[in-house]
């Protein structure tokens, strides 16, 4: 099991809602997204699959290239693929801001 942490200080647009999506089942993960308490965005990941830190960072970099909300993100992961991770993140964004479209 591995704990990963990433910071995105330039994601500063305030958000007000929180969202929980997904299940820590095989090949899936849960994400808790809520307003950041310290400004900027913080990501904390607990994954049962070791050795994929670079992939996680690539997915998160890509997500925060399109999304600028100041959120705290906590992920419990049971082996979600990068595609599933991105879908879960977008699903959470959709819940905290239904009208907000992530920049394509």
């Amino acid at each position: 099991m591995e704990q990963l942490k990433f910071d995105y200080p330039s994601a500063v647009r305030p958000v007000t809602k929180r969202a929980h999506v997904g299940v820590v089942g095989s090949g899936d993960m849960e994400v808790l997204m809520q307003p950041s308490e310290t400004g900027g965005a913080q990501v904390s990941i607990l994954t049962s699959v070791n050795g994929f830190g670079a992939s996680w960072k690539a997915v998160m970099d890509r997500f925060f290239a399109k999304y600028d909300g100041a959120v705290r993100i906590d992920i419990n992961d049971a082996g979600a693929t990068p595609g599933s991770v991105m879908l879960r993140l977008e699903q959470a964004v959709e819940m905290i801001a239904p009208r907000e479209v992530i920049k394509q």
């Binding site: 099991m1 299940v23 849960e30 607990l46 994954t47 906590d74 419990n76 049971a78």
Partner: protein, 291 residues
């Protein structure tokens, strides 16, 4: 040229099995009546799983909603079958027990509060060993306390089913609702095969397993009360019916003499087939249940 498009009911229906535990729970409460207790943002996770290299879940696979069903006070406790096979750990068990005990307290104070259990579980969470066993014992004690005051309704929708110690908890509840896809049994098929050999029980033979553990057989035998389709509205209607019904005259698990007689009357000199068992045990309700 135009022709009406007919969409059959089995396509239009809203599958219950496809929902996760939280969505299942929400679909059974009166809309707008509920709130979640000890939800994911409270982050009460299993402290034991990370020590064993397993990612925990922020609700420990147990969703507790408080609100009303059919206008009556109710608490709904749903296990998430996709997280660690819905297994009972220290945290999920404590949530279930506490919710049942609060319902008992409210009931004793004049506010009869029914409980609905959505059980998708293989039983004890092996990684939490004795703590898991202990919470299952506590859950059983809490069900026995509450069922004196208000109905405890177990729904087994599938596809995990309900096995191990939690199948006993299901057996203690006032009513059991099952789908055709659901299974209910003390030992899981693979456990029986592992312990007693493939001649005893072939766990790869799905037709055999469903003929013995499946919802149709369990309702046919009279050890569960209603067979429903995998349809969120139909399951909600069934739960509402039992919330309104109140307490059964005699809980199934107190009908000791009846089950002793039934067991004694079985002819064990030959292999008993599921249909014969259904007929000899429960002539009254052997009409295919809700189907």
């Amino acid at each position: 040229m135009s022709s009406a498009i007919v969409i059959p009911a089995y396509v239009r229906r809203h599958s219950f099995i496809e929902l996760d535990a939280r969505a299942r729970a929400q679909s059974l409460m009166d809309p707008g009546s509920w709130r979640e207790l000890v939800g994911p943002f409270d982050r009460i996770e299993s402290p034991w799983l990370p020590m064993q290299g397993i990612a925990p879940q922020s609700d420990d696979g147990c969703v507790v909603l408080k609100g009303t069903i059919a206008g009556k006070p109710a608490v709904l406790i749903a296990l998430e079958g996709k997280f660690q096979a819905g297994s009972m750990g220290e945290v999920s068990g404590a949530k279930m027990t506490a919710a049942l005990d609060l319902a008992t307290q409210d009931s004793q104070n004049g506010k009869k509060t029914a409980a609905v259990l959505l059980l998708e579980t293989g039983g004890v969470r092996l990684q939490e060993a004795n703590l898991g066993l202990a919470v299952i014992a506590e859950v059983m004690a809490s069900i026995l306390a509450l069922r004196e005051h208000a109905p405890v309704i177990t729904v087994i929708a599938g596809t995990v089913g309900c096995f191990g110690g939690m199948s006993i908890a299901a057996g203690l509840s006032s009513y059991i609702v099952m789908t055709v896809e659901a299974r209910l049994g003390l030992n899981g098929p693979e456990v029986i095969e592992q312990e007693s050999g493939i001649e005893e029980f072939d766990s790869s033979d799905k037709a055999l397993i469903w003929a013995i553990n499946g919802g149709e057989q369990r309702v046919g035998m009279g050890v569960a009360d209603e067979l429903v389709l995998d349809d969120a509205e139909k399951i909600a209607a069934s739960v509402q019916k039992y919330v309104r019904a109140g307490l059964p005259q005699v809980p199934r698990s107190q009908q000791v003499e009846l089950y002793r007689e039934r067991t004694a009357a079985l002819d064990t000199s030959r292999q008993i087939d599921p249909l014969t068992l259904r007929k000899s045990w429960n002539r009254k309700t052997n009409q295919g249940g809700a189907r």
